[in-house]
């Protein structure tokens, strides 16, 4: 055993280390490794199942959201158009100018 003269000995003590190693020595390493690997496989399966379920739910939710968004946007456009034309036929509004009546036109001229 190497006695250190200072509290801050930088070197490991091989004698103490070996004694502690023997005192803490685990047994059946192969059995332990097999046990850990078996446990590692179980959560992985569960995890994959969970992720797959989440993925399916996520895809379904995304589709529903897309559908809902399409409906909302479509309804919003229609409502905006109707409010702009005041209930008239949108095509007539877009078609534009109606010709003025001739009598009205001349009457306004002769009044001057």
């Amino acid at each position: 055993m190497t006695e250190s003269n200072t509290p801050f000995d930088h070197r490991p003590d091989p004698v103490l280390g070996e004694a502690l190693r023997a005192a803490l020595a685990p047994r059946d390493r192969a059995e332990f490794v097999a046990r850990v690997l078996a446990a590692a496989n179980r959560p992985a399966d569960v995890l994959v199942d969970v992720l797959a379920r989440w993925a399916r739910l996520g895809i379904a939710a995304a589709l529903l959201a897309a559908l809902a968004a399409t409906l909302v946007v479509g309804r919003g456009r229609r409502a905006a158009t109707e409010s702009a034309v005041g209930g008239a036929d949108p095509e007539a509004v877009v078609a534009g100018v109606q010709e003025p009546e001739v009598g009205v036109l001349f009457a306004s001229y002769s009044d001057r």
Binding site: L16, L20, P26, F32, R35, V36, A39
Partner: protein
């Protein structure tokens, strides 16, 4: 390398990592928990936790300290949860330095005494001395593993050694 393969889903690589670090992880866990079954449970928890967290591991750094930090935390958590009771089972004959028919028996008695002495140390001190003198980690690495300043690690190792060396010296004198 192995960690990267394990992260990619290579179970053989993970198995190799477990085999390589199994003894070390179990010793460190036992330094905290004393009971070998509890220690194995904690070590297993640590390996499974490490598998889940492999994506967080920085491959440019040594794998051992990263894993040992997880082991230390797993062991501490388990000790807290289970409120491990320290049962003092002292064989009167062994304490009195009774019959020691062969070397193997002597070593077992010494081991038992060391385990008892370790159990009397504060938890961080136990882990520090085991990580330093048994597992060969540097003070800086242990500081990272245990989350304490390097100077504190040196102090903990020193105090633990002083206690354990006294015990070993007494044992030699008795022999």
């Amino acid at each position: 390398m192995l960690a990267g393969l394990a992260l990619a889903g290579d179970r053989g690589a993970f198995g190799e990592l477990v085999g390589r670090y199994a003894d070390q992880a179990r010793r460190v866990a036992r330094a905290v928990l004393q009971d070998p079954d509890d220690a194995d449970d904690a070590a297993q928890d640590a390996f499974l936790s490490a598998l889940v967290k492999l994506g967080q591991y920085d491959a440019s750094r040594p794998f051992g300290p990263w894993l040992m930090r997880i082991v230390a935390n797993a062991a501490t958590d388990r000790r807290r949860r289970r409120e491990v009771r320290r049962v003092e089972i002292l064989d009167e004959g062994l304490v009195a330095g009774g019959q020691r028919p062969d070397v193997a028996a002597e070593r077992e008695v010494l081991s038992e005494r060391l385990r008892q002495a370790l159990a009397e140390l504060p938890e961080r001190r136990r882990m520090a001395v085991v990580l330093f003198d048994v597992e060969g980690y540097s003070h800086a690495e242990i500081a990272g593993i245990l989350g304490m300043p390097e100077g504190t690690v040196r102090s903990e190792v020193f105090h633990a050694r002083r206690r354990l060396r006294t015990l070993l010296a007494d044992w030699r004198d008795e022999g």
